[in-house]
Amino acid sequence: MNPIAYDHKMAAHCETGTVAALLNHSGMEITEPMVFGIAGGIFFGYFKTAQFTFPTFIVRSKPGQIRKNIEKLLGVKMGSSTFKDPVKAEAELDNLLDEGIPVAVQVDFFYMDYLPAWQRVHINVHFVTIIGRNGNKYLLSDIYYPKVVEIEKDTLRKGRFAGGSMAPNGFMFYIKSIPPKPDYEKAIRKGIKKAIFNMLKIPIPFLGVKGIEMFSRKITDWPKYARDEEHLSHEIMKINVLLEDQGTGGAGFRFMFATFLRQASEILKDNDLFEMSKRMMAIGDGWREISLHAARIGKKRELGPEKLKELSDMIRSRAEAEKEFFTDLKKLV
């Protein structure tokens, strides 16, 4: 079959980037930051539960939420399915491709063998878009990779049916229809309100700004959870990975949210939102300083109480900045 004429672009995050690219393909002009912002993607959560052997944190809403919120707030209709049987999953994928419909599939990142080996880790929630097939190969667009690639059918199958936590189960989604005239202004305001609610109003002490405050308080306790210095340094350096290296667009999605606000200010013709976008960019720069500090002290094994206190103070300053930011943002919507 001929490949679908699909405009492959790199993007920051697999879910937001893939949704934006599929919408663009369907004729909707929308950017990745706009998808992220309208879907209320910005978030923070600090977790120390039995589920996690070591404290960890998240910087965005849970996987799948972006797609669902875009459907709800912009009136986009998407088809989606999960499968037990890989053969049926492939048959359904092939049917859609034959109809000329690009299909996003959830995969274990590890099996994406066009990426360099050092980059490939087992993460079950990665999305790529299939845009054609050629014999025993599929044509694949991955927003993390500069060009369209071919992947062996068997390899893709391994990725789509990998086991473990949050197993893909062959999950796929595609665009069925887009609204003729999406109400961006309304969707943007709802997205901003959602972000404000998530960051300021959820009455749970480890979510939103309260989660950042908890992160700041608790990080000085991290040595007691670590097996040894090696383990602690690994976990401290992971702060950098979670903020910068997981398709966050930098600074734990704060830069992406800032870009959303800038684009929103243009659509809504609201200069105050533009000023808020600059403030969020500066907040992101502060998070990036945290990434760098964590990476440096982790790499050098400088993990004494005074260094963790420095990290704690830097995180607390982000909590204060974000509390003030979202409080001020609330006055604009």
Binding site: M10, M237, V241, G247, G284, L292, A295
Partner: protein, 93 residues
């Protein structure tokens, strides 16, 4: 910017070496097309070095390189960094 592309490439090499406090390699030792990341290369950068370099480039040239996926492509070599800065800032020399 009123410097030539070659001068810019030299400047980038000096910036990288200074930022990472690498003293046993000279700018001339780094090939413009050589991959900067990975073991076995002259510098052998890792992802932490990448953040340091991104912040240094941002400060010196006032360019933003926020997204790590794109940053990874831009930081491939001295040539690709120079190309990015040239495009962002304009180069007359």
């Amino acid at each position: 910017m009123n410097i030539t592309v070659d001068e810019l490439k030299h400047e980038i090499k000096v910036l990288i070496l200074d930022t990472l406090k690498i003293t046993d390699i000279k700018p001339v030792d780094i090939d413009n097309a050589e991959p900067l990341f990975g073991a076995g290369n002259t510098i052998g950068l890792d992802s932490i070095d990448a953040i340091e370099i991104i912040m240094a480039l941002q400060k010196k040239y006032d360019v933003r390189l926020d997204d790590q996926n794109l940053a990874r492509v831009i930081l491939t070599s001295i040539n690709t960094i120079a190309e990015f800065i040239t495009k962002e800032k304009g180069l007359t020399g």
